[in-house]
Amino acid sequence: MSEKHVIYDDMSHKSTIRLENVSVTFEKYTVLHKLNLLLDERLIAVIGANGSGKSTFVRLLNGLVLPTEGNVTINGFDTRREGKAVRRIVGFVFQNPDNQIIMPTVEEDITFGIKKLKKEEIERRIEETLQRYGLLSLRKKRVHLLSGGQKQLLAICGVLVMEPHTIILDEPTTQLDLYNRKRIAEIIDNLEQRIIMTSHDLLLLKKFERILVLHEGHLIYDASPSDAIPFYERLMA
């Protein structure tokens, strides 16, 4: 069986992400330099100062940003040529949920990415997801009336309902208060999918398996949290 076919048989995190000689340049400014990586852990974090290239890096992994040089493949799917297939298996939660929530009400927004499924399947997924994350009572609510935490939860639910194998979270707790940070952290902890997350909240990353430290577009450290976090703290001191 080819590598490409594995994704539909197995909901686990056993998929692989490969970056081969990947550079990203915007106009004349190189944002990421010659990255070569094989990612197959379940919990991967990307840390770095503002402007270090974290957001560009994670956007590469579901084809929102295409490499200027090199290739990114997810389970054999090339992000450049097979962007749609990649985005079906890699969900993306943006930093600001307001920009990710597309539709006017909670239910309509959850349905956005799964419109093409059968009605019964859509209903099942909506019901299950909203129930699991405590949003069922808000099903008909207009999204601009939700609190910040509820919006972030809805953004995550909008991705989960598509049942991706990998979820990318770009600084998911940045705009939240302490209570909602804890709540989102708990939810992330309990997800079964592979998680790739950028964050400035180092406490959130302690349970992760692998941490990539980016600095000015270069990957300067790649290790477990026990090594990578102290290294990053020294770098930022």
Binding site: F92, Q100, I102, T105, E108, T111, F112, K116, K140, M162
Partner: protein
């Protein structure tokens, strides 16, 4: 008058009507009113509209909430028309507009936005032969409904920031940050639509 994305969850007879039927009635009613210039018919139309609000279970307060933000506009329009025509004609113009807006408001109050979009999408299918893309039109309308409150919030934030820096009521100072933030949002939303697997061919 707030006529966007504010449908209620009541289950009156009007709430239960097929959205396509409601939209057709709204369209026909509007067309009819445009060609009518008799005051008693316009007043009857307004009374019918108000009765429909009652049938749908809305209180007089709700009707007032719909009209209060535009009553000044109606007053100015009435005075403006008085300069050029009789008071009867001025009243016709204002009452006609009030009926149209109230009926459109009733439609959005009793129909979820997803159903409005689905209905419009079906209506736009006829335009496909002219190169129109119903799903895209429908998405654009949904985005409009979704982002009006966000744009309102941006205006509020930019205005507050300007006030904090001692510059009040200067439209020009507000324009640039507004444009920049709106462009940034539109870029992010486009990425989000792509990331959430929106199918162009839907």
């Amino acid at each position: 008058m707030k006529i966007i994305a504010d449908h209620t969850l009541d289950t009156s007879f009007i709430h239960g009507l097929w959205p396509g039927f409601k939209l057709t009635v709204l369209f026909g009613f509007n067309l009819f009113l445009f060609f009518i210039n008799r005051l008693y018919i316009i007043i009857t139309a307004l009374v019918i509209t108000l009765l429909l609000y009652k049938v749908a279970g809305f209180s007089s307060i709700r009707i007032w909430q719909k009209v209060r933000s535009v009553w000044v506009f109606f007053a100015v329009l009435f005075v403006f028309h008085l300069f050029f025509s009789s008071w009867q004609n001025s009243l016709i113009v204002v009452l006609r507009l009030a009926s149209l807006l109230l009926l459109a408001g009733l439609f959005t109050l009793t129909t979820p936005s997803s159903q409005i979009m689905e209905t419009l999408e079906r209506y736009f299918i006829g335009l496909q032969s002219f190169g129109a893309h119903p799903a895209k039109i429908s998405l654009a309308l949904s985005l409009t409904l979704r982002f009006i409150p966000i744009l309102g919030q941006i205006i509020h934030e930019v205005h507050e920031a300007q006030q904090a820096r001692g510059s009040e009521g200067n439209i020009m100072n507000m324009t640039m940050p507004m444009i920049i933030r709106t462009l940034k949002i539109s870029e992010d939303v486009a990425s989000a639509i792509e990331a959430r697997c929106y199918d162009n061919d839907a």
